[in-house]
Symmetry: C2
Subunit: 215 residues, 2 copies
Amino acid sequence: MSPTSSRPNTRITRLADRASYDRETAYAILDAALIAHLAVVVDGAPVVMPYVCARAGDELVLHGSTRAGILSAIAQGAPVSVAVTHVDGLVLARSAFHSSMNYRSVVIHGRARAVDDLAEKAQLLEAIADHLTPGRRAVTRGMSDGELQATQVLAIALDTFSAKIRTGGPIEPPEDRDPNVWAGVIPLALTFGPAEADPTTPAHLAPPERRPAND
Amino acid sequence: MSPTSSRPNTRITRLADRASYDRETAYAILDAALIAHLAVVVDGAPVVMPYVCARAGDELVLHGSTRAGILSAIAQGAPVSVAVTHVDGLVLARSAFHSSMNYRSVVIHGRARAVDDLAEKAQLLEAIADHLTPGRRAVTRGMSDGELQATQVLAIALDTFSAKIRTGGPIEPPEDRDPNVWAGVIPLALTFGPAEADPTTPAHLAPPERRPAND
C-alpha cells in the first residue's frame, strides 16, 4: 500500500517487514480475490482496469468480451501487470505519518496466454464461476459455442510475482503516545449481504452456497 | 469489470449501459474509495500497485515513501492510469455467460503533479487521513518537516476519466430461466468490524468516528 508509515528508514526494512515471495502465501491472497486490476501499455501509456479473476493451478485467469480492444492487445503478448489487493483495516496511530492500512496484496508480472481451445475456455470460465460461487457450475447450463467464441479468456502464468502483507496495530515511537488520542485498528472486510432473488426465481429455491469474500 | 455477460452485441450498447462521464458520479465513486490501483510504464512494461487515495478538489491524491522508485518516475511526469473499483455484488444468472458483478469503477488517465511545497504536502496528507477517518486531523499531531520530506505526494488532475456502474439483477433470455436454479444478486460491501484498541490506548477513550466504507 506504500503508505507514509511504511518505515522509510531502509529498503531492507521495508522489504523484510512486508514482502513475501512465498507461493503459498500469494496463492491464498489470490484465492480470496473476486477481482484483479490488470495493467497494459497502449500507445506508450499505461491502462489499468478491473477484471473478475480466479486462479487455476499456476495461472491467474481473466476474461472479457472479444470486442474489448485492450484484451486483444494482451492476447497478442503485450506485457501485463496484475494486482490483487485486500484491504483488511485502518491502522490509526496518533500521527498521520505512522498511520497505515492492514492489507494483503499480490502483484504479478508477465504475459498472458490467450486461451483459444473452446473446451479449455469452457473449463476455465466454469472455474471462474465456481470460484465466485462454489458449486455453481453444477447447476448452471453449459456455455454455447457462440458464447465461448464471444469471450476472450486470458491466463497469466504465476512465475513472477510478489506478495505484501501488513497486519497488526500501529507502530510509532513512545513519545507519540498521546494519552488523549485513541490508537488501534479498525478492521475492514468485504462482506456478503442477504441474497436478493430475481423476480423470476421460484420462491421455494434457496440461494446458492457462497464463500466468505476476502477471507 | 468486463465480465462475459457485458452484452457483447455492440460497442454502443456496452457503453450506453455502463459508462458514464458525469463528474459528479465519478467523484462519488472516488470519495467512497480507500485505495486506488496506480499503473505506470517502467522500461516498457506496465507496473500496477495499490495506494491509499483521497480526492482533493479536482485531483486524486496518492502518497508513498520517497524511496519508492516507482513514485519517483511518476513524479517526473510519466503517464499514469489509476483505477478505483467497488465490488457491490455477485449477479447470478442461470448461465455463467450471463452472470456478472455489480460494481462501480472510475479509470483516470493523466500525469501526476509532484507536490513539493511542504505546507501543501501537509495539507494533502491530512486530507487523506481525514478522508479515511473523518475528524482525525483534529486529534493527531502535525507532520514534522522530516516526515514531510520523506513522503512523496502525488496529485493527479481529474481531467480524463470514465466511470462505469452496473446495478440490478441478472439479464438473461427467457429460455434460460430454468425454474430449478436460483438467480439473483448477492450483495457485497466493504464493512467495518469492531475497533481494536492498541494496548497503549487508555481504556476510557472511544474509537474515532468512522465513515462507512464503500458507500
